[in-house]
């Protein structure tokens, strides 16, 4: 994925990401506006404060209270205005940035929902999760910084500098000398630190991944009594992270002393030059109060630069995140329905004509080659073959989870590309090898197959899938809560629930991709019998490891290295196919022994 990052420019990444601001444009503009007004007040307040001090010092006793009240009221008014602006700015910033993050997450998630299997394969699960969470948060923080601080700092800088030039141009020249020093210092640190941090974050991620690996593999760790070994490994990795982080943070830690140095050096210069000017020209060139104002401005100017440098770091840090988000947002689904697509699938016949298939254009090896296969509606077809022989690839082309690279696949004598995707997938129910149940009750999980399924329909489907009995044995029956990933049901139970879920679709074609591997042989054969009895007109395609699971099929397809090696019935294959014979006897050793004994 990192290589792809380079493909997207920083600018276009931000452009893509910023499209998600949408309805939050108004607060996004209002927030900086109020920030700017706030800054004006913030710069005026110290000015008035100095004036107040000056008045206290110079007016006579009789005017003292009047003057204090006069300037006090001005100050109070300014403070209230500044407060109001600050509150508005804060509120708008919060609304804008949280809203932007919300839209961004939504756009990402929606985009992923439209992904095809090929798109999904491209991004790993964990990378998609990171994009939706950490990356969005990074961009959100950067956005908040931009509309608040990134406007505030330069504005404050310019305003304060202008004010100080207006007050006294000669004194303001001191800033012109100091600012370059600070800017250079901060820039050097930033430029040096950023690539450093990028590398460290990778290390840090790797460290956390190794913890996760350890947690997941705890049974192995304990079985092999490898606790000490793991501790050593972790200690080393953690120390490594510590060292790199310390190095980088030491660099960043230079920010504050440099900043302090500049502020203090500036102050002393101001004081020295100021004192001489005031006394020598008898306040002609510079008034005493102006010196005090200068002090305030010097702080504000340098602070704003400091904040700006921090904001820049945040923005630069978020570039990588923005790119990763843009990558997903820019990804086009490789599969779409045609316009005016056919929505009616007549029957469950399937035909493969000269089909070959590669998972990606770059793949060296074809997953499938020269596939020609005809399945009549209502037939039961068994597919068998060793791992990696292309069984799953073959059946995934039927509901158009992938598109064939060459050749065509016909369902009910019409090319699958002509159908509406949803209609096609509703008619072709597929139980994937990697079964997933979702957190929710059993009923909620079953309703994935049919939103409006009645209780009877659900019970029927579960009976056919051999799931009704164990569901009834649960205290909450069909309302039993399935935990995330289905961890509170066994592998076999999970598989049966997944089959029931698929049956509820009342499909024209049912594909079971090694879906009963964790189910015991007895239940397995009961399920097959039920399917035969209750959904005779549905085409059933069964991928299995066990010969017993496909023995009675109308047609058995033997896959080998992406090609169909043979097609035939159990008897035919047993007679003249070596692979099948081998498989059969390895699974039924006993029978073979008996046979040889005869």
């Amino acid at each position: 994925m990192t290589k792809n990052n380079e493909g997207i420019g920083t600018f276009s990444a931000f452009k893509t990401v910023l499209k998600s601001v949408r309805e939050y444009k108004k607060p996004s503009f209002l927030a900086p506006l109020f920030v700017m007004i706030e800054v004006i007040f913030e710069c005026l307040i110290p000015l008035v404060m100095t004036l107040l001090l000056d008045r206290i010092e110079h007016v006579g006793q009789e005017d003292l209270l009047r003057e204090i009240i006069k300037y006090g009221l001005i100050l109070l008014l300014l403070a209230l205005c500044s407060l109001a602006c600050g509150v508005f700015a804060g509120r708008f910033t919060a609304v804008a940035s949280s809203g932007f993050a919300k839209n961004l997450r939504k756009d990402l998630y929606y985009r992923i929902q439209d992904f095809s299997f090929a798109n999904i394969d491209k991004f790993s699960t964990s990378s998609m999760v990171t994009r939706l969470t950490t990356d969005v948060t990074n961009v959100e923080m950067a956005y908040m910084m931009i509309i608040r601080t990134a406007i505030r700092s330069p504005f404050m800088f310019i305003f304060s500098l202008t004010m100080s030039f207006l007050l006294n141009a000669r004194m303001a020249l001191i800033f012109i000398c100091i600012i370059p020093i600070l800017v250079t210092g901060l820039t050097i640190i930033m430029v040096k630190a950023i690539p450093f941090f990028h590398r460290i974050f990778h290390k840090y991620d790797a460290l956390n991944e190794s913890v996760e690996e350890n947690v997941r593999g705890m049974r192995v760790v304990k079985s092999y009594v490898r606790e000490e070994h793991e501790k050593d490994k972790f200690d080393k990795a953690s120390k490594d992270v510590m060292k790199s982080f310390t190095k980088a943070e030491k660099l960043v830690a230079l920010n504050t002393p440099i900043m302090n140095f500049c502020v203090y050096a500036g102050l002393i210069c101001l004081y020295v030059v100021g004192s001489i000017l005031i006394v020598n020209t008898n306040q002609q060139a510079l008034e005493l109060t102006q010196l005090q104002s200068f002090m305030t401005y010097s702080f504000q100017i340098l602070m704003s630069l400091m904040m700006l440098s921090m904001v820049m770091v945040m923005i630069v840090m978020s570039v990588a995140s923005a790119k990763r988000i843009a990558e997903v947002l820019n990804e086009q689904s490789t599969l779409t329905s045609k316009e005016n697509a056919i929505t009616n699938i007549k029957d469950g016949s399937v035909k493969f004509i000269d089909v070959s298939f590669k998972y990606s254009a770059k793949a060296e090896r074809s997953a499938l080659e020269d596939i020609n296969l005809e399945i009549k509606s209502g037939e039961t077809v068994g597919i068998i073959g060793s791992t990696g022989s292309g069984k799953s690839s073959l059946v995934q082309l039927i509901p158009r989870l992938y598109d064939a690279t060459e050749g065509e696949i016909l369902v009910s004598n019409i090319n699958v590309k002509e159908y509406d995707l949803q209609a096609l997938r509703d008619s072709v129910a597929m139980v994937l090898q990697k079964n997933v149940l979702f957190s929710g009750t059993i009923k909620e999980n079953l309703r994935w197959g049919n939103k409006n399924a009645t209780d009877e329909e659900m019970i029927d489907a579960c009976k056919q899938a051999g799931a009704h009995d164990f569901i009834s044995s649960f205290p909450d029956k069909y309302d039993t809560f399935i935990e995330q990933g289905g961890v509170n049901v066994s592998g076999g139970q999970k598989q049966r629930l997944c089959i029931a879920r698929a049956l509820l679709k009342k499909p024209k074609i049912l594909i079971l991709d090694d879906s009963t591997s964790a189910v015991d042989t007895k239940t397995d054969s009961l399920i097959r019998a039920a399917l035969k009895k209750y959904i005779p007109s549905t085409t059933k395609i069964i991928i299995a490891q066990r010969i017993a699971s496909i023995e009675e099929a109308d047609k058995i397809v033997i896959m080998d290295c992406g090609r169909i090696q043979a097609i035939g019935t159990h008897e035919q294959l047993l007679e003249n196919n070596d692979i099948y014979k081998d498989l059969y006897y390895s699974q039924n050793k006993l029978k073979k022994d008996q046979k040889e004994a005869k």
Binding site: V211, S223, D235, R501, D520
Partner: protein, 637 residues
């Protein structure tokens, strides 16, 4: 694991941050105990920085007074000496400040990283000592968040919030002393103002912290949801469930956005409100000061009650106001830290909660040693690897030590067990595995097959009954030694980041390359390994994601083979391997396990049919036992 209870409902609550009282104290203590010198240095530096930052305003009033004097005398030369003195003092003090801030930031960076390293490793070490039950009842994500979210919050706390707060406290104390030395009356006005600022912080900051915590919880929920949906994305596609998935997502996303908006709003408005409260206080002090001056109230300061002229009082006000400003800005700065302090302490308390989990208990005292056995059967202990093992059994009563040869003889007598006491999953299980026998467990899922193996290696302890290993009650055997004597291949293969060779060697760390390759050959893994791009040096990442499930299983068998243990447990170890390869693997393992005890758990008949005894389990009971032929003859289930 199968049939195991998962306490997820109570887990959700465990993520809720409960700011345990005394967390801060414990945190500081552990910071201090482990990093004494660093801590003292940091404290000193922060104290210096805090005090120095206050003094800059004091210089100003002295400077102004001197300049005024110069103006009065109309001569720079007359006051130049005084001015120079001020400038030099300023220079020295400021240099000190720069140096101390340099040291402070540097040492805090070092301290923070060291502390995080200490926290991580002690967490990790603690985790290694926890029983399997802990991992079965906690979600991986929740455990992980101790290392990610909580540690990050802790970093913020240690590197930013605590130093900030401490520096503010030092500054405030210094300022207080200065203020009192000027005027106690005016100080009282400031106290009043600060009290209001505290109330505001408590109100707004409290709300902000509350919503930040809420946001954290919504974020966790949304993350969990996203994780689940991304993992099941293909199923979503197959069932055309996209629209519903979007609706479910939107609800969670809206909730998160609403909490985040509130949290950030409160956080964002706190600063302007506090700042301007400070400004208002400034006006108030000026006004009350003026009033006091006009009605000529005698000034009360640390040096006592004193009648002052109005001019003198005005000078007091003039020097007091900048201090007032500095004081309030310190208070409002530290109010900014409230969020990260609340979140940091919550993180710390969660980490401490894990540190307080009870470790796996081990009262065993029988250990496993290498031994030599002479022709008379006399066992002598040795440190060399002889290929023979013995149980070393010290008897406390008379101080003698007896040795029993390790054979792999396992007996279970009337064992009852439940993962939770209320729900017994194994009833009255008895079995006898003689050395060299292959014992198979079959039965439907959830019947208790895996549970039995969980008991033999003592991942869990039995509720009732007895398990004997070579005649020794397994409770007496040290857990590490017990497990060292068992080779286990689990259905869920877990490989580790590293090369293929590293992964095989995980079984026995001192195994040579040759031994590892031999083990791979036995497990029939050699073929596919040599076809990998870098052979045995191919890097595996993310649990061997670049291998097929079957290949992963072959590797985990090779890993167990290199361990070369007298007892082997294969729990669905070949379930994803096609039957042809399986029979080859079996030949290899059979050769390896000659004369040793093997427990096999499988669904497939082909996996178990050459076993000596097959036990059929149902609902936690052994309902049938016998050889394959006997069982087939019985009814062929």
């Amino acid at each position: 694991m199968k049939g195991m209870p998962r306490k997820t409902t109570s887990l959700k609550n465990s993520r809720k941050p409960t700011a345990v009282k005394g967390t801060l104290g414990k945190l500081l203590k552990s910071l201090f105990v482990n990093n004494k010198l660093l801590m003292i240095t940091v404290f000193t530096c922060v104290t210096i920085t805090g005090i120095v930052s206050v003094f800059s305003s004091l210089f100003l009033s002295r400077l102004l007074a001197t300049i005024t004097e110069g103006l009065r005398l109309q001569s720079l030369e007359a006051v130049w000496g005084d001015l120079l003195k001020i400038f030099i003092t300023m220079g020295v003090v400021y240099m000190t400040a720069v140096v101390s801030s340099f040291l402070q930031t540097r040492f805090i960076a070092i301290l923070t990283q060291r502390f995080l390293h200490q926290t991580r490793t002690s967490l990790f070490n603690k985790m290694q000592s926890l029983p399997i039950k802990f991992f079965d009842t906690h979600k991986t994500g929740d455990i992980m968040s101790n290392y990610t979210n909580d540690t990050d919050a802790l970093r913020q706390l240690v590197s930013q919030s605590l130093p900030h707060l401490y520096q503010a406290i030092i500054s405030v104390i210094t300022l207080l002393v200065i203020m009192f030395s000027h005027s106690i009356w005016l100080s009282l006005v400031i106290f009043f103002g600060v009290a209001i600022m505290f109330l505001v912080t408590k109100l707004i900051g409290g709300n902000s912290a509350k919503y930040f915590v809420k946001q954290q919880i919504s974020l966790g929920e949304e993350e969990g949801f996203i994780q689940e949906m991304m993992q099941g994305q293909k199923v979503v596609k197959v069932f055309c469930h996209e629209e519903q998935a979007k609706i479910d997502f939107d609800a969670k996303n809206e909730q998160l956005a609403s909490d985040a908006t509130k949290a950030h709003t409160f956080a964002n408005v706190l600063m302007p409100i506090m700042n301007n409260l400070g400004n208002i206080l400034y006006v108030l002090v000026a006004f009350i000061g003026g009033l006091l001056a006009v009605i000529s109230v005698p000034n009360l300061s640390l040096s006592g009650l004193k009648d002052v002229t109005i001019t003198e009082f005005l000078i007091i006000i003039i020097s007091f106001l900048p201090i007032c400003k500095q004081f309030t800005s310190n208070v409002s700065q530290s109010s900014q830290q409230i969020n990260s302090i609340v979140m940091g302490l919550a993180g710390a308390s969660r980490i401490m909660a894990l540190m307080n989990e009870a470790p796996e208990e081990d009262n065993g005292y029988v250990t496993l040693v290498n031994c030599n056995i002479d022709e008379n059967g006399v066992i002598t202990e040795t440190t060399e690897r002889t290929g023979k093992w013995a149980w070393k059994h010290p008897h406390k009563a008379d101080g003698t030590v007896t040795y029993t040869q390790l054979k792999g003889d396992i007996q279970m007598f009337n064992v009852d067990f439940g993962y939770v006491p209320e729900k017994i999953v194994l009833h009255d299980v008895s079995l006898y595995a003689k050395p060299g026998q292959k014992i198979a467990f079959v039965g439907s899922t959830g019947a208790g097959k895996t549970t039995i193996t969980n008991l033999i290696n003592r991942f869990y302890d039995i509720a009732d009954g007895k398990i004997r290993y070579d005649g020794i009650n397994i409770n007496k055997i040290k857990k590490a030694d017990l497990r060292r004597s068992l080779g286990i291949v689990l259905q869920d293969t877990n490989l580790f980041t590293g090369t293929v060779m590293d992964n095989i060697r995980y079984g026995r760390l001192d195994a040579t390359d040759e031994e590892c390759i031999n083990a791979a050959k036995l497990a029939y893994a050699h073929d596919f390994i040599t076809r990998l791009p870098d052979g045995y040096n191919t890097m595996l990442t993310a649990d061997g994601a670049n291998l097929s499930q079957g290949q992963r299983q072959l590797l985990s068998i090779a890993r167990a083979a290199v361990k070369d243990a007298p007892v082997m447990i294969l729990d669905e170890a070949t379930s994803s391997i096609d039957t042809r390869t399986e029979s080859l693997v079996q030949k290899g393992t059979d050769r390896l396990m000659e004369g040793r005890t093997v427990f096999v758990i499988a669904h497939r008949l082909s996996t178990v049919q050459n076993s000596d005894v097959i036990m059929v389990l149902e609902y936690g009971n052994i309902i049938e036992r016998g050889t394959h032929e006997e069982l087939v003859a019985l009814k062929g289930k």
